[in-house]
Subunit: 485 residues, 4 copies
């Protein structure tokens, strides 16, 4: 399996068009904006290599019979779905962050199942090609990303009605040995520092939109691809402070959701053997749905545990301030725990009510998944309010580590930021920075990543609810229709 060192070597050597803050990155392992995420991915590889964690970090491939990284493992049972939940919660515990690789796993599962069904129905050979690709990934233990999202232009317009037809990625040229694609995928988590990206459509397509119905796997360093890194408040901090410093808060991994890119496909060639959908617009609906279900499932494990980390930090700062016995503090910590479990519960239930698709891939229950994700959105904002109230104003107004290290200021800060006797002042500073690193950053992420927006959940929940069946029950009880046998 891929070691941390292998991975760092790959990053050092790889030649890709990666831009950060307007400059091309020479060494992806060393860039301050990329580094915290590189550290997360490296940590996950280390954990996967540790026999102590192999149950949670790896699975046995039904394709090869060998142990593979759980991110590259296909969910062939309810247990696999439930394990994925534990997996992301475990990684959140270890890194205080999104583990960054769920989308790749989601895409592998979704395409595996869809290619199977396409071949059965249409006589195509996508599944066979996809199995070969999946084995390649599993055997080389590659880091795989994926992200559906096109830039999408004018939201209500169909792809071909857009001011620019490239607002959704599409095939611009058909060749005998493959296709040329053009477009731009947005919010692509770790595209710059992974090996492969799996590209899928982000919209349910119609017959006259076949050129948009394309799915494929591609080396992220392929000619014609450019990765432009996002720039937000969290990575501003990563530029200002050094990894490992107190100001990082989560000292090795920083503030999460700092590593997505605009991934531009400027007429990129994709060879036939890497193409897994090519015009079959009628399969875009199940493909997107399955991808989304998986994404929402793991949000449950991940976001719930992120709140657990806030609870832990809240418990710590309350003790440091002598407040841990106060009723309103205990009440708020308890509310945080309720919020955490209210995300986790429906996610577990979604996995437990998972079901098999014809290919053997298991999918979680859609209604319960979206419920978990929607609750995660609401809960994250609420959780940030609670932790900020528990912790106090220094979450937003702590001086920097540079101030703390300045000899003129050090004694002042040491003296005045102290609290309960015996607790080092530095610990107090650290825990405030930690709370800042989580609570000030991921809210937007909670909303947009991992299965989409609040509205996307509404659409799914509305779509999954059997309104007519429920109506019958009511009609029967109110005597409008006879009792249902």
């Amino acid at each position: 399996m891929l070691s941390k060192e292998d991975y760092l070597n790959y990053l050092r050597k790889k030649e890709a068009n990666v831009y950060v803050l307007g400059e091309k990155v020479e060494d992806c392992s060393e860039n301050p904006v990329l580094k915290p995420t590189v550290a997360i991915l490296s940590k996950c590889l280390e954990l996967a290599a540790d026999p102590k964690h192999s149950d949670i970090m790896t699975g046995t491939s039904h394709l090869t019979g060998k142990k593979v990284n759980r991110f590259n493992h296909l969910t062939m049972s309810k247990e696999d779905l439930l394990k994925r939940l534990e997996h992301v919660a475990f990684l959140q515990t270890k890194t205080g962050s999104c583990a960054m690789r769920c989308a790749g796993c989601n895409a592998l599962c979704a395409l595996y199942s869809i290619t199977y069904e396409m071949d059965k129905k249409l006589g195509t050979d996508y599944h066979e090609k996809f199995i070969k690709y999946a084995k390649y990934i599993q055997e080389n233990d590659l880091v795989v990303g994926s992200g559906m999202m096109d830039v999408k232009g004018v939201r209500p317009l169909r792809p071909h009605q857009q001011p620019d037809p490239d607002f959704h990625l599409r095939i611009v040229e058909e060749r005998s040995d493959g296709v040329i694609v053009r477009g731009c995928k947005a919010h692509q988590t770790v595209s710059a520092i992974s090996h492969e990206m799996i590209v899928v459509p982000c919209k349910v397509l119609k017959e006259n939109e076949k050129e948009y119905a394309v799915a494929f796997g591609i080396d992220v360093n392929t000619e014609g691809i450019t990765h432009i890194q996002q720039h937000n408040f969290q990575d501003s901090r990563h530029v200002v402070a050094e990894q490992g410093s107190i100001d990082f808060g989560n000292i090795q991994y920083g503030s999460s959701f700092a590593c997505t890119s605009l991934m531009i496909f400027d007429d990129v060639f994709v060879p036939n053997e890497r193409i897994f959908m090519h015009g079959e617009y009628q399969y875009t609906y199940p493909l997107i749905r399955r991808f989304g279900s998986h994404a929402r499932l793991t949000e449950g494990g991940c976001r719930s545990r992120m709140i657990d980390l806030l609870i832990g930090a809240g418990q710590a700062i309350s003790e440091y301030s002598g407040l841990d016995k106060q009723s309103h503090i205990r009440d708020k910590l308890t509310q945080l725990s309720f919020l955490s479990q209210s995300i986790r519960g429906p996610a577990i239930a979604a996995a437990y009510h998972g079901f098999s698709t014809p290919s053997g891939i298991y999918l979680p229950d859609s209604l319960l998944c979206s419920t978990s994700k929607l609750q995660a959105i609401h809960a994250n904002y609420e959780a940030n309010k609670l932790i900020n109230d528990i912790a106090g104003g220094f979450v937003s107004s702590m001086p920097s580590e540079k101030d703390y290290r300045n000899p003129v200021l050090h004694d002042f800060m040491e003296k005045y930021l102290g609290r309960v006797s015996g607790v080092p002042t530095e610990h107090i500073i650290r825990i405030f920075r930690f709370i800042e690193s989580i609570s000030m950053s991921p809210v937007v992420g909670a909303l947009h990543y991992g299965g989409g927006t609040l509205e996307a959940q509404n659409v799914t929940i509305g779509g999954e609810t059997n309104f007519q069946e429920y109506k019958k029950w009511a009609l029967s009880l109110s005597g409008i229709i006879p009792e249902i046998p």
Copy 2:
């Protein structure tokens, strides 16, 4: 198994001190306040007798190897816990109401497990006696109630510090063949119309409170017991309208939570063979906890389905009004579905994470149970707001069926309460009454029944959360303590 007819015969003949609205009830099967609940219990017996539903309505007793009503079945596996969830959801679908018998089942499971542990540790013979009692119930297919709640007097005082020492039920006399108990159990669901009640303490007791640490099973018609029925808005309606009428809303079963009593024990004799705890104060904590966990679990199935019924009624009235395609209506129906699943999800997860006690009884996960129940409290108020907004003002201002049947008024109402062509006006009236019957009544029930108040959930959630473990995670990530291996 007990047939509906057997049960009604029992009610007709039984001699008990049951009072409704200040008058002693001669025939418990015919009293208008009791009748809707009698109908619910009868319906549940019918369903249990129907082979089509035997999987959900019955289980196989590990004590007798025979099929028993699921309410009298002990939860000896995760599957049993998960089945209980389906069981209450199914009965909610069939009756639009609380099924009334969960507490008896909870008490059976809790006492079974606790008596086992007491005997192992203390050398007592409670478990053997309890098995005999459980078999008696299973084999005679009896209707069993239970309810922890004492009247409790001054809340913060210990039982023996109360202005009246009987504010918690207690042993007032020890005899060679049994004990005499005195006290009053409040909010006792179906105590007046069941066969047996299982009485347990409602407070964690201390060494000097042994006379309060008493648990036993008792025939509800025993001398010295008086049942005074509750009186609330819902049973006011049951007095005013006739069962089966439109005004009942849920035409057979009326508005739920109409059948609890103050159950007074005025120096009642309990024979030794029916006593299952007698002074072992140190077991009151696990007994109460286990009872509570079971209660919260089934609330998940029940309350979630109650919201599904509101969704169904909301779908119906929206169609009748021509509003079912409007975006704000669809949005609110979808929010209702989210609320329903947000209760159900943690309940399923609690069952899935159920665990065995030494006796073999399975308990659901406490933290997830209380999360489901707390969400049920919040969601029920929110759901009522949504359904009332969807349905419109006639939820509270519909004229009565007597108006509708009055020849002078009938044509006016027929004409003016009409909506979409082809929908009979009577259907419109019925669906408003149905929404009234659910949405105007159970909110307080959602809060108090089925595992207790909002605050009770806070206490459990706070108690079940491993704040110190979570703290360690945060300390490790912020560099305060070394990485946790």
Copy 3:
């Protein structure tokens, strides 16, 4: 001014088609369903006659220079608007109920201003006629009701597209001396027990809908009018219990919102001098808007005070239970106070930002009004949850006063429902009934009465918000357009 006795005499003698529970009412002063509301209206007349309260209960008419009941007083200044807020809060304090007469006042103000503007623009003589009518009401101190709501049939259809053209009240015949109207007004508060009703359209109408654009004042006993009383849980209680009894909760006035009717106009003649709009469809928009603004304003005073009453009852039961110092109880009582003020605040602000119309009538600020009302909807459900949690399960399961008066049961209840020494058990029962009477009933009312549903507020708030102006501010600050001077 009208004395309580005058009013009761009027009720005793009046001949009207009033139906309650399917039977024609002979004496409107004695019917058990109507009585609590009669008591409220009588109480308000008593208070208006009391010189001690004349500042709040009366105003000086700018039409006659004489003191008139504030419900019949036109709002000719900001102070009048602010006084109205105090007025309804005061009456809520005195009766624990909706004061029932706001809609009449709203209609007087709205029509006064609109008729003025119609006459100025169109040369009609509505305003003069309306002044005569308003003087008639003020000088005879009549009880005036109003309610916009038609039954409305299929919601999205225009009046003349409905399956029945009478789903909105309309002129069916034009005569030289007046018009014949047909239709049905729903949810008409106190129509059966007032003197006059003011009828206005409930929909913004178009040119081809002139027959629906009709407004008039009418004696409620006019031939052709039938009042069918609503029937809900609260009036079920009023049938079962006697006014003055403990079970009434609010012992004189019962549970509010128990007195609306379907008011049927079966070809009713309206003479010309009572017609204040006759085809001027283009004035339906401002008429409805102004009516609605007034309605939402007074909801602020009323609903806020209703929560204050819950706070008071919560304080009482907490003291009776020995819980008033507990942190979670104090916290919940404090949340209730926040909810109360969060309704009241925007209402005061709406009055303070009131503005004059050409006729001199003052209107409150629409955006702030709807904010207050929408907050009232949310807050009432939340408040009920909080008070139910504070008070405990007897809110829904208290035995009846008849049980308490039964000699067999009295001592049991006296003993077991006791709490803190020195607090009579009867007080404990009373306060539970009081909480039931408020918290179990008005939620739907909070939503539908007093300016309409949640969705109606959304429509107003959306309509009143200057999205484009706000946009300019954002564009300027982000450098998209130049700084706004």
Copy 4:
């Protein structure tokens, strides 16, 4: 009056111990962390100097009869309170930020009124000295800050029980000509770039804590004072991007709440004429209360308008994306407007119900103020959720302006970030950055600044609510006590 240029000159020349990111600042007008706030203060001075805005930006001093900056104006009437609300809303509109100077104004008003009362009661001469100081400030048009907050150490301990007695600022030496103070004030908005700070106690003190009961005005550049600037995500951005750049979002003023400091008093001399409280512990309660009431009042104007800016930006991005007509978008924009008004309403009401203190200073109503502030806390988190859902993922993952200006990347971004035809891509980028600058930053500020935490509001609301009066109303209506006359 002070011109922008005067102010910048002052900043350039002043000699103070100001530290930013560990380094001493030579020129406070040029430091990138301080600059956006300097721009805000400068802008406010410009606006005050503009005759067009003099009504809102200035008032007439009752001390000097001259026009003074409204931040230095004492609130001597309800109108002054209401003007302050408009004042902060106006400045929020102009700067998209906290105006930074409210606390100084709050301190001026609170101390003016308290010194008056102390002198009347105790025969001291504080008020006379304070008038002289207030005139000095008004006449020189100085920028005045204030902030109560001490670092406070172990929260539940009294000042003199703390591990370090300096955790609350105190007098460490009494001299004939003044006192020496030591301590550290936290979260001191603009202390580094104002002229004067007014220092007051932050805790209600007791008799044995007189050395902590000290209030004074002091030049921020006084020897012994050190200002250590806060460091948070927003100022990290200010380091990384240049003022005026797109990445600033709010291009001139950046993300608000970027300019507080730890203000250390390392044995600082305060001359007698600047001391306004010196041991009168019994006046700390009203002083803190009045300061807090003022602070909460202006939060209402400020935070409400901040949400208006989000509405404006949401309207803009919805138009740019072709989504502005979609029902769920309109619904969310409307919810934002509701949230804005629900903050503003109680603030206006608090001002309208303002009352005079003996000195003539007007205070807003405490209960309504805290209601506005508590609503602001809840609403800001909710608003951020809504705007993030409206706007989409680029709020957190937009590439930087440096990327956009890079010739290799420019065309890609220009092409792919486009939306509706005719809207320049740069505008789309700008509006995302603007939303980021507001929605990603001020939540913690909403909670902590401007009158304190969620819990602080609970304490005030609980304290201000007349629970016993409300109880009497409930007791009367339920027949427990006679009717209240």
